[in-house]
Symmetry: C2
Subunit: 353 residues, 2 copies
């Protein structure tokens, strides 16, 4: 039996109702059913379709611009943090911050703004918390590309209810030190590959990451070792040691430029994987109006989000949603009711203007 | 059927015969049978006993001093290096250098020196190439202690047919760097434990190992990282990293002194394991006579051998045997026939003097 959601009423109560429908990645069917059913009954002005455990809805009013809202329905695994509980003005529990507060705001807009000034598309998708290939947006981008098209994308991931614009790129590289194996009793006959890691570790210690300002947003880069390994046996000078470094780079650099920079820092290396950053794109008219609606100063998104995916499609994209992103994936995640209401108000004003 | 060995004839031919009786650790029974049978038939002047896959033989002539010879019967695993093959003046194959050349020399002495100037004990033992607890000498020390007693012990491990005296100690320590976990997108909120390994790695790079002279032997110390590990995930600033270092120290230092030294170098650390070194003990009369018989200058033993075990029992102990110890455990191990003959001659002269 499908859970009945009231998507026309208070977005705070809607958040609470969404949290109490568990939706760990790959197990979003019940929540997707509830969202689909609510949109079909309570937002008949929208065209609503289903794609796997994703639900998509949109207006087609011939407005001069289109805004795409995106939010994932899934959560990380349950960690003794369900069902929802409340303290004064705060909702606690799995998914409160990542990102059922944002989903509630989207559903509220979908149901209540029946005469928007932009055409609106709402994408509620699955499997964002697992691998890129499983991410529902990957499937939607492949099969339903026109549902991702627009003049501005707003991904309602938690952003403390301020505009977070663009995001940094990420690249992991492997630095492999070579040596010559020998018995440690005759260490001078060998060449210790672990000792050779001193050079890249010194480079890390001496590294001064850039802080880059783009469209008024500050991007604070980082360079962090994330793995080190080496060793043959307790009495052997090792001939190989491997350091893996994760670089977070501002979106003024392409992945190729970031790689060239890392080669300047470390010399020879192998790129393991990367994801491009996304420029904030706040210079476009739709983005400017959204920034004005939100008030305050836009800030740079720190992590990588699906904002990058829209940016790669040439669509200016921002994060704007209730809650502190640093609480995401923690057992203690929670969201303030006031931020949910503020996001709903800001976005209602923006799409009604 | 027991293999027949002629232990009275040429020690080079005897080495060849021993090599062609495979005797990987724990599988020494056939070779032990052959050695026991040969000693009983061809060296009736000796008291011969069996202990597991070890064979022990000795004179009891009431001489004023006793020399104990020790050699292990086992080899490391076969590595496409059996059966024996010969090139001009060289025997090639598993066990040629480690240490059937030395065992052949011992059997030759046992059979041919029937009227020695010292009482003689010969210990042919098992499982030296595996763990300390399985080592046949550990059992013999426990159950047949008087068979290890004497005024000088000569372990016939390969030593290039020169006297190698004493041996270095070895100690493994663990240096654990701590940090604070964080997402790499917000690296400044964490503290990278892998980065903190720069300090001990710099200490290793700047370390100048001592070379210590004792009784004319030079002991060259060493300090080598043998293992490094750390890392949580590709996007996490790691909160722990571990470096393991192996220190080889000259026998003028006790393990406690070596540990104190390492604490000066690295600060906080944990000792994982250690084995004390052995002083060369060349000042004793029996050792002096052996050094004279061998001619040349004694050198320090680099690796750890069962010499240390005798030293711990208060018995001066040296290595003296045919072959290059750096070839031990390599697929290409080999021994020069001339070194086998030289060792047999030197030792015959020493025990007959």
């Amino acid at each position: 039996m499908t859970v009945a959601l009231d998507i026309t009423a208070d977005p705070v109560e809607l958040t609470a109702a969404l949290v109490d429908v568990p939706s760990v990645s790959r197990e979003e069917a019940e929540l997707a059913d509830a969202v689909e059913s609510a949109l079909r009954r309570q937002a008949p002005h929208l065209e609503t379709i289903r794609s796997g455990n994703a639900v998509l809805a949109r207006t087609s009013l011939g407005r001069p611009s289109r805004v795409v809202f995106a939010g994932h329905l899934d959560t990380v695994p349950v960690n003794q943090n369900l069902p929802l509980h409340r303290t004064d003005g705060v909702l606690h529990g799995l998914g409160t911050v990542d990102m059922k507060g944002g989903v509630a705001v989207m559903l509220h807009l979908a149901a209540t703004v029946t005469d928007p000034s932009h055409d609106l598309t709402f994408v509620f998708y699955d499997c964002e918390e697992i691998d890129f290939a499983s991410n529902g947006l990957t499937r939607i981008e492949r099969e339903l590309r026109d549902w991702m098209t627009g003049d501005l994308a707003i991904v309602c991931e938690p952003s403390n209810a301020v505009v977070e614009a663009g995001c940094q790129g990420t690249m992991r590289v492997e630095i492999r030190a070579k040596g010559v194996r020998a018995h440690t009793a005759r260490g001078w006959m060998g060449e210790n590959a672990i000792h050779a890691l001193e050079r890249p570790l010194r480079a890390l210690a001496e590294y001064h990451p850039r802080t880059v300002e783009i469209d008024g947003c500050l991007y604070r880069e980082g360079l962090q070792a994330v793995s080190v390994s080496g060793g043959v046996a307790g009495n052997v000078v090792p001939d190989e040691a491997v350091l893996v470094v994760n670089h977070r780079f501002a979106p003024d650099r392409s992945p190729a430029e970031a790689e060239a920079h890392l080669r300047e820092v470390f010399g020879d290396l192998t790129v393991l994987d990367y994801a491009a950053g996304a420029l904030p794109g706040l210079a476009t008219p739709a983005a400017q109006r959204m920034v004005e609606a939100a008030g305050g100063t836009p800030v740079a998104k720190l992590g990588w989000t699906d904002v990058s995916r829209f940016a790669a499609l040439g669509i200016p994209a921002i994060n704007f949603g209730p809650g502190d992103p640093t609480l995401a994936h923690t057992q203690q995640e929670n969201v303030r009711e006031s931020e949910i209401r503020r996001c709903a108000q800001v976005l209602t004003r923006f799409v009604s203007a």
